[in-house]
């Protein structure tokens, strides 16, 4: 039989260290839903999603019960709607977002991703229509998530898209101002977006993906933190090894859930995303892991190095535990969703510039950051440009999910509640980037030879 200590240790991880599978995400292709009439497209989208994902939530709950593993979210990602909408005569795609929202609610999932456009090299008409529909789409739906990819290592940075997204984020914040700019929490601007990401708000079902697929995102910052408590004062070799072993266990669980969900739903298994996704709950924080390594507060000198080690060790441990790894895989650093990050930002130890440096070595980017409501659109665009440059040059995914908190200033708090948590309003540089952003055009793709 199993070692009794191993069994107790697993139960302890679930009960006291927030071990869970963060999401089962079903990717669904909507390519066959195109039509000239947007209302027909909306109907087709609703029908297809509710048919494909009919049993998603029920199956997730069955697996939870049988294995005793909490599966926090069941979600859906779809083909970027800019592609599906291209055939429509209508130019406002918000009705398609409403159809997605209705389908998501019918299926019982809590988020649906894919109100998206990929414009890293340029816009199609459909892309422009979609981007201009984002504020209305996010303001008139509850569960729809949107993402726009504005840059890639192969194509460079589409600065026209960067400039536009600054304005779209502002508009979205204004249109959802009564909910604290909640729309912006559902909007991600990517560089090097991935097609199989199961995490929101950036999930979409890429065109290279099959008809339908199951992707699973694991989590477990609490478990890693707990494991590191046992190696206080030890050298980093021991720290890295401990994280690897823990990541292996967490990922095995995700792999098991993915395999079961895939076979029960009769849908191919895509990938397991090896991510440490924090929540605002105490004991489920990535920042606290970095602090456990010896930093007084997350954000002080040494934070980037600590995060680099963590990110790498999570991947190394996880990669052997699953037969297909993908998505974003690494440590997430969403400020509002991480109890330790919130605390660090409140004390002033963690600021935007340090977070930007951290995104060079973590899995995504500037995530769930609240800035003053009067931040100009050009400053938001410039923040996006910086982040995209990091992604493009380092051949990694980066993203910006930033919330200009309408009517709030530095030092105030923005409350979302639930998994999205709360964020202290962080200062941005006062100096203008207006003329820089106004240039438009495309920043050329970086050289990837002559690496010396």
């Amino acid at each position: 039989m199993q070692n009794i200590n191993d069994i107790i240790s697993t139960l302890d991880m679930i009960d006291h260290q927030h071990l869970d599978v963060r999401t089962i995400t079903m990717g669904i292709s909507l390519l066959d839903c195109c039509d000239e009439d947007i209302h027909k497209v909306a109907d087709k989208i609703y029908d297809k999603i509710t048919k494909k994902a009919e049993k998603l939530v029920e199956t997730g709950e069955q697996i939870e019960k049988e294995f005793g593993i909490p599966i926090v979210n069941k979600r859906i990602s779809v083909t970027p709607i800019s592609i599906i909408g291209s055939a429509c005569r209508e130019t406002n795609y918000a009705p398609l977002a409403v159809a997605l929202d209705k389908a998501a609610k019918q299926c019982g999932v809590n988020f649906i991703g894919g109100f998206s456009a990929l414009v890293h090299k340029g816009f199609t008409n459909g892309d422009l229509n979609l981007i201009h529909s984002i504020p209305e789409a996010l303001a008139s739906t509850d569960e729809v998530c949107s993402s726009v990819c504005v840059a890639s290592t192969k194509a460079g940075i589409n600065m026209d898209a960067v400039a536009l997204m600054g304005k779209i984020i502002k508009q979205t914040a204004d249109m959802t101002a009564k909910d604290g700019g909640f729309g912006c929490a559902k909007l991600v601007v990517f560089a090097n977006a991935v097609e199989d990401n199961p995490f929101m708000a950036g999930a979409f079902h890429g065109v290279g993906e099959p008809e339908c697929v199951i992707n699973v995102g694991v989590s477990g910052p609490g478990v890693v933190h707990h494991a590191l408590k046992s190696c206080k004062g030890q050298p980093f070799d021991v720290v890295a090894e401990t994280i690897k072993k823990t990541a292996f266990k967490i990922t095995r669980m995700g792999q098991l859930v993915a395999r079961e969900a895939s076979s029960r739903l009769g849908v191919p298994f895509g990938i397991v995303d090896l991510s440490l996704a924090p929540t605002p709950a105490k004991g489920d924080s990535v920042a606290r892991i970095l602090e456990e390594m010896g930093l007084e507060v997350c954000g002080t000198h040494g934070t980037t190095a600590a995060l680099a080690l963590l990110n790498d060790a999570v991947k190394k441990g996880g990669v052997m535990a699953s037969n297909h790894v993908g998505g974003l895989s690494g440590a997430f650093i969403p400020v509002s969703e991480d109890e330790g990050m919130i605390a660090a930002a409140k004390t002033g130890a963690l600021h935007l510039d340090k977070l930007e440096a951290m995104t060079c070595v973590c899995s995504v980017g500037l995530d769930m950051i609240a800035v003053p409501g009067d931040t100009p659109a050009s400053t938001l665009s410039a923040i996006i440009a910086d982040e995209a440059a990091i992604g493009v040059v380092n051949t990694k995914t980066t993203a910006v999910r930033i919330i200009p908190a309408v009517g709030k200033k530095v030092g105030d708090m923005l409350e979302f509640g639930g998994l999205l948590g709360s964020a202290p309003i962080m200062p941005v540089h006062e100096f203008s980037s207006e003329a820089f952003v106004a240039r438009g055009g495309r920043i050329p793709a970086p050289m990837h030879s002559l690496k010396n």
Binding site: M1, I4, I7, T10, K65, E66, F67, G68, R252
Partner: protein, 89 residues
């Protein structure tokens, strides 16, 4: 299908007897039992075989959980695969 039943809580008389009776009533075979008592805290794990049983793992798990509550214990039933995968390469 095999499952692991974990019983935790304050030690008292008759815990094993009651759990085993419920399993026997459901024609579930017990393959192995391991138990420890640490500072009056009782922990028992059982490996059971459900292939001869009348109920599936979820139904049996719910009955055991309810039984546990009557004795002030936490009883959990989980498919064995999870532990196999987490601790073996």
């Amino acid at each position: 299908m095999k499952a692991i039943v974990t019983v935790t809580g304050k030690d008292t008389t008759g815990i094993i007897a009651k759990v085993c009776t419920l399993l026997a009533d459901n024609s579930v075979n017990i393959l192995d039992i391991s138990q420890t008592v640490m500072q009056q805290y009782f922990t028992m794990t059982m490996l059971i075989d459900l292939s001869t049983g009348k109920k599936n793992v979820t139904e049996l798990g719910e009955e055991l959980e309810a039984l546990g509550k009557t004795m002030g214990l936490v009883i959990r039933t989980q498919r064995e695969d999870i532990f196999d995968l987490m601790y073996r390469v």
